[in-house]
Subunit: 157 residues, 2 copies
DNA sequence: ATCGATGCAAAGCGTTTGCAGGGGT
DNA sequence: ACCCCTGCAAACGCTTTGCATCGAT
């Protein structure tokens, strides 16, 4: 569904290169994450993979997500509220997100990470940061609002 | 230090209008927050107000921050990592933040909330969102990187 | 045989809640 | 008198960790 999602081979390679094993659990977690397009929580991934791996534990899902994040195969998205669950993103590149304030779902936006965004957005700000000695290594842009309501499949955080 | 910070009277008024009482604890929490410029966590505010209010509890600090946020006197900033503490902002307006990846400190950026940011950043994206029925009510822009190291006063999350 | 990964249970951390006591209007 | 607030303690949700077992090289 998305051109930036990796296949088993690419994920296996990425894990292997980092000295991590491409276990069935890790690959299943990645598959499940890549198949869901509203960026599920760890608990949701856990429920979704249980039919395939009935003996998997939630702790293993967390560890798998950590391993996948370590090799850049997934991104962990910050919780919307303190104490809320983090959500995960199977894309390996940077992009913007839209977060629904009603359901907590996160959708990808068809835009790309733009290293020059700050410069373009506000040259004076970029200049000011440089002058103050702040080294900017990245940014996060997140839109929020409300997605069209769906008759089913709703989720609340 | 910052023109958008409110005085006791304004905070008291805001609380009163909402049917909330301007208690010493709430005002002290607001004062402390306004006096710190790296956007402390609830625990840090708690420690900072203890000398003035030795009997205050952490729960009261949380409740005070909630009350202040409810009337718009403070903003709660999402945790950087899942399970990490939220940070609080004494400014009543919207603006961007710079988050230090080393210390977790958050600094204000001298920019303002721009309702037309999405339109300006990417008109095609704005159009696409409208077409798909997504209602955008706000956004969050956060830069991260590294602040100049300080000889003292460092903090890690 | 080695060494990492799994899965279970328990701990950890930030935050919220229940509730009795207290204070302002 | 009323109602909100405080402060203590306990509960809560999400995540991580300790540890014995398992599995692949």
């Amino acid at each position: 569904m998305n051109s930036t999602r990796l296949g088993h081979d690419a994920v296996s390679d990425a894990l292997g290169t980092a000295g991590l094993r491409p276990t069935p659990q890790r690959l299943a977690v990645y598959d499940q994450l890549a198949a869901m397009d509203d960026h599920p929580t760890a608990a949701e991934v856990f429920q979704a993979v249980r039919p395939r791996l009935p003996r998997i534990s939630l702790a293993t899902v967390y560890k798998a997500l950590e391993a996948l994040a370590a090799v850049g195969a997934v991104d962990r998205l910050n919780p919307a509220a303190a104490g809320g669950p983090a959500r995960y993103d199977a894309r390996g590149d940077h992009h913007y997100h839209f977060r629904c304030l009603r359901t907590g779902a996160i959708h990808d936006l068809p835009t790309r990470y733009d290293p020059a965004l700050v410069e373009r957005l506000d040259p004076a700000l970029a200049d000011d940061l440089r002058r103050r000695g702040f080294q900017v290594t990245g940014y996060r842009l997140e839109l929020f609002g409300y997605q069209p309501s769906e008759p089913e499949g709703e989720r609340r955080e």
